[in-house]
């Protein structure tokens, strides 16, 4: 009987050791990613160490060339009144903005919520008629287009992540960018931006124009 008891105890200890070693087990080193992961141009697919197709995170896709035609209006479905914007730190008027249903616009919308976000812009170009700021996010260039003329209220995302808000009609602008949205009402827009810029000249951070942005899309 003693022998049997010892045998069971030994078995129990082995089970415990196995259990615990399982708890702290270390995964085998998967090595280093192949060249086609670093530079996707070398291969059509990103392949994970176990051979699965990985999530597409490519922002430098060659497919952008295929969609470089057409106007902003051709971008497909529009998300009506997706965001609401107040121009200037003390701005009170709410401007409704429609957003295009493309990846770039959706990525931007992901950053917003029902609470107003104070968004500073550090570039004000009166001559070119836009206010710009680099934005965070991993953006595709799939919906990039060549656009000849831009209108006041248009929002475009440029390669490198610069978001431009045109507050003036600019004929012959000839830009290559992804249209992300447009103000639904442009009456008084130019003046509102100019006024916000003027009132912000002594900003301690050096911000040109502030925008309060609220996501209104459900």
């Amino acid at each position: 009987m003693k022998k049997m008891t010892m045998w069971f105890l030994a078995l129990l200890l082995v089970c415990n050791v196995a259990l615990l070693s399982g708890c702290s087990g270390r995964t085998k080193d998967p090595g280093e990613p192949p060249a086609e992961v670093i530079n996707p141009g070398q291969s059509s697919e990103d392949v994970t160490p176990d051979g699965n197709l990985s999530r597409d995170t490519d922002s430098d896709s060659s497919s952008s060339e295929e969609s470089n035609t057409g106007n902003a209006d051709d971008s497909g479905e529009v998300l009506e009144n997706a965001i609401s914007v107040r121009i200037g730190r003390d701005g009170t008027k709410e401007w409704n903005v429609n957003m295009y249903n493309n990846d770039a616009a959706m990525t931007m919308l992901d950053y917003l919520s029902g609470s107003a976000l104070l968004f500073p812009t550090y570039t004000y170009d009166e001559e070119e008629g836009f206010v710009a700021q680099s934005v965070r996010g991993n953006y595709t260039r799939d919906d990039e287009q060549e656009i000849a003329d831009v209108k006041a209220g248009d929002l475009y995302l440029f390669s490198g992540g610069q978001l431009r808000f045109y507050f003036k009609d600019m004929e012959g602008a000839d830009i290559t960018a992804t249209p992300v949205g447009y103000y639904t009402d442009v009456e008084g827009l130019t003046e509102a931006v100019e006024e916000a810029y003027e009132s912000n000249l002594d900003d301690t951070w050096g911000v040109d124009v502030y925008f309060w942005i609220t996501k209104t899309l459900e």
């Binding site: 009987m1 049997m4 008891t5 069971f8 105890l9 129990l12 200890l13 089970c15 415990n16 050791v17 259990l19 615990l20 399982g22 708890c23 702290s24 087990g25 270390r26 995964t27 080193d29 998967p30 280093e32 990613p33 192949p34 992961v37 670093i38 996707p40 990103d46 392949v47 994970t48 160490p49 699965n52 990985s54 999530r55 995170t57 490519d58 922002s59 430098d60 950053y111 919520s113 029902g114 609470s115 107003a116 976000l117 104070l118 968004f119 500073p120 550090y122 700021q133 680099s134 934005v135 965070r136 991993n138 490198g160 992540g161 301690t204 951070w205 911000v207």
Partner: protein
């Protein structure tokens, strides 16, 4: 007197197995509870003493720059008893390819502060003379960097040729930064190395400088000062220039609780285990006592008939069992000092110092008295029957248990016999059922804690970090190819979730804190209240206590020269900066800070978090301009290994408990059933079948107890563990389905009851028809 002695010896002889079993149980219980009490009190006293000895102020403020005038300004305040500065150099460092998450603080060792030096095991050694080019470190760093004597630590003071290498020459007990729970670590160096470092810092262009000089300013409050801790800190901030130089500041209590956090968690674990052990001990004792009384009933009746009072008979049993329990308690108490020392030794790599263990006499005596009272009351209660038993009643009783009439089917003979015996001796089996219930609840709770902890300590990491993640990447310039980096991470493991975190310095009602800003507030570990919108903030319990704030209160948060009012929307959990932090939404922070800068760290939750270290190493080696980290901190591996080890020990001790419980029960049941078994054997049932049938009874009752226990654990475990963890700074505990918490107890407990019962039923081999004849003779 002679009669009692004979009775006592007879009782001890008959219940030898039970008595040894009870002794072992009480011994383990006693060693467990007294060692945890000893460790808890000794650890607190020792670390507190070390902090005082090393001169940690009631409040210590870490400042940057060479600002000697600060101490004078503080010293001049009416509520300040004294203030003094300990100069240091802040610097990031690299050891064996691993980079520090936080800056280390390099201090000159010149003997003015009485640091204690240790060997690798934490044993005190003589104070050395630190030579040029060498450094002494906390032993807690062994676990985090796999560093040992002779390794090189590279301190990064400037971007251009500013790496200063020092060789590890030994270890020292760092009384207030040594714990692996504290990311920042102290290093003791030679005075000329310190001067060389200062030269590098002074001669490096501002754009290239990485390290900085500074000091720890230890401040002591006057005894007669009427200011609260918050008011005292505010007085210092408002009346001196310290806020312009403050890196961070901590009160003595905060540092003490972080130094002792792991030790207290360990003690909490052991105390919880002791509570369960006490319950199991009482169940087993009750079981053994009732069995003995049952066996001795006829002798007792005879003794009563010849005039021996019931009280004297009872005293015999009380002496036997009380004596064994007392012996167990004393034996455990003697072992507790050694056990506590072993635990303290095991904690060296976590606390960074070897706690000197001293038995706390008064608390130990109080606890011993409490246990003696409990055991005495329990034994008195359980032996009441002896006084009530009348001789005539005993002779008329049927000793064979409740008569049960049930069909015995040939195909299920072993099973049916088992069921019949369970029904017949329901009370005896109820005790086993109860034991399996208690063990199931406990093992389920322990298993759930093990699963929550995870193989790499994910549970602990998530509880202490701002938000759950596997990998964090913070780019510092626009040239960093984040899309490429994401492809690399994705190659190691598909990315399940992504969000962004910024950690910015702010003041709340004038006091400096770190603001954890998330673009998606759902990731905060909310404990109470609501997630913050653009006009709300979350605070930790540390901040709530420190600033005496509650949900709904309005606070003034300021940063970058701007201030806004926010409402406290909730309490959240994050032990970063030892709890001195607040949580904000991106919208909320945008009102006082610029959200467009390179302040954001991209956090990734991976499908397979175990590859995170490989991904981190690859990114660190191949990309510049980024900071990569995993959701971990120095010394976490040591803590996790110890917790896993403790869980393993608990499983082994639980198995020993089952072994003892089953041994006691089988002895008693086999004694009862010797006659019945002989009858079964005479009817042609083999010993093998009888043993299986016997083991089946244990299986049936343990399955019932385990299932009910697991159901009970499912309802109460999270809440109960959460309550315990809350005392140790972990505010949230959620365990879902887990193999350790559900499957293991469900299969393991009944299996062990079955196998042990089967093993102990080997006695049945000796049962024969002779027993039957003997039974009938009695």
């Amino acid at each position: 007197m002679e009669m009692r002695k004979i009775l006592l010896l007879a009782a001890v002889k008959r219940q030898k197995g039970s008595i040894i079993g009870i002794f072992l149980l009480v011994w383990i219980l006693s060693a467990c509870i007294f060692s945890s009490l000893t460790l808890y009190i000794s650890g607190n006293d020792y670390v507190k003493g070390e902090m005082e000895r090393l001169g940690f102020g009631e409040l210590t403020i870490w400042v940057n720059g060479e600002e000697s005038s600060l101490t004078e300004q503080i010293q001049a305040l009416p509520d300040v008893e004294k203030a003094y500065a300990q100069p240091l150099v802040f610097s990031g460092y690299e050891i064996n390819g691993g980079y520090s998450d936080n800056e280390g603080q390099l201090l000159v060792y010149d003997g003015t502060v009485d640091y204690r030096f240790l060997n690798a095991d934490g044993i005190r050694t003589a104070a050395p003379k630190i030579t040029e080019g060498t450094v002494y470190i906390s032993p807690a760093m062994q676990a985090s960097f796999d560093v040992t004597v002779g390794d090189t630590i590279r301190f990064e003071l400037s971007r251009k040729d500013g790496t200063y290498s020092l060789t590890v020459a030994g270890y020292f007990a760092d009384g207030f930064m040594g714990s692996s729970m504290i990311d920042m670590k102290s290093f003791l160096i030679n005075a000329s190395d310190y001067e060389n470092m200062l030269d590098i810092l002074r001669n490096t262009k501002e754009t290239d400088v990485l390290g900085k000089c500074g000091a720890m300013v230890h401040v002591f409050q006057r005894e007669d000062s009427a200011l609260t801790a918050v008011e005292f800190y505010r007085e210092i901030q408002e009346n001196t220039d310290i806020s312009l130089h403050t890196e961070f500041s901590y009160r003595r209590e905060s540092i003490l609780s972080y130094m002792l956090l792991l030790q207290n968690i360990l003690c909490g674990f052991l105390i919880a285990f002791s509570v369960v052990l006490t319950a199991v001990c009482l169940i087993v004792t009750s079981h053994s006592l009732s069995s003995l009384i049952e066996q001795d009933k006829k002798d007792m009746a005879a003794l009563k008939t010849i005039g021996l009072p019931g009280k004297q008979i009872r005293d015999t049993y009380l002496t036997a069992y009380g004596g064994v329990m007392l012996a167990g308690l004393i034996a455990g108490l003697f072992c507790s000092g050694m056990t506590a020392r072993m635990l303290a030794q095991g904690l060296v790599s976590s606390t960074g110092m070897l706690v000197v263990v001293r038995l706390p006499i008064v608390p130990v005596l109080l606890l011993l008295g409490l246990f003696l009272l409990l055991f005495a009351a329990f034994l008195m209660l359980r032996t009441r029957r002896i006084l009530k038993t009348a001789p005539v009643q005993v002779f008329q009783e049927n000793p064979g248990g409740k008569i049960v009439s049930s069909k015995l089917r040939k195909a299920f003979l072993e099973w049916d016999i088992a069921m019949r015996e369970i029904q017949s001796r329901r009370r005896n089996y109820m005790a086993l059922c109860l034991a399996s219930f208690v063990l199931a609840v406990f093992l389920s709770v322990v298993g759930r804690m093990g699963s929550w902890l995870g193989p790499n300590g994910e549970g602990l990491m998530n509880a202490f970090s701002v938000a759950d993640h596997d990998l964090g990447v913070q780019p510092f310039n626009r040239d960093v190819p984040m899309d490429e980096i994401e492809r690399v991470i994705n190659w190691y493991s598909p990315i399940r979730e992504t969000y962004e975190l910024a950690m910015e310095s702010v003041t709340v009602n004038g006091q400096e804190y770190e603001a954890n800003v998330l673009n998606d507030t759902e990731w905060f570990h909310l404990m109470e209240g609501e997630l913050p919108d653009g006009e709300g903030i979350l605070i930790t319990e540390t901040v709530a206590n420190g600033l005496e704030l509650g949900i709904g209160d309005t606070v003034l948060v300021a940063a970058n020269g701007r201030a806004q009012e926010y409402a406290v929307s909730g309490i959240y959990q994050c032990a970063n900066g030892m709890g001195s932090n607040i949580g904000m939404s991106m919208e909320g922070y945008s009102r006082i800070g610029d959200i467009t800068g390179f302040i954001w760290c991209y956090h990734y939750v991976l499908e397979d978090g175990t590859v995170r270290d490989y991904a981190m190493n690859y990114l660190q080696e191949h990309y510049r301009g980024i900071d990569v980290h995993t959701n971990s901190w120095s010394g976490l591996n040591g803590i996790v290994a110890m917790m896993h080890g403790l869980i393993g020990v608990i499983y082994v001790v639980a198995a020993v408990f089952i072994l003892v419980s089953v041994a006691l029960s089988t002895g008693k049941l086999l004694a009862y059933e010797a006659g019945t078994m002989a009858v079964y054997k005479s009817m042609g049932l083999s010993t093998k079948k009888l043993r299986r049938s016997f083991a089946f009874r244990f299986l049936i009752v343990s399955v019932a107890g385990t299932v009910v226990g697991l159901l009970a654990a499912a309802f109460v475990a999270d809440g109960a563990v959460g309550m315990i963890f809350k005392n140790f700074g972990i505010g949230q505990f959620h365990s879902g389905f887990s193999i350790l918490g559900i499957i293991l107890p469900l299969l393991g407990l009944p299996a062990m009851f079955f196998f042990f019962a089967w093993a102990f039923s080997a006695k049945l081999k000796q049962v024969s028809i002779i027993n039957l004849i003997h039974e009938n003779d009695v």
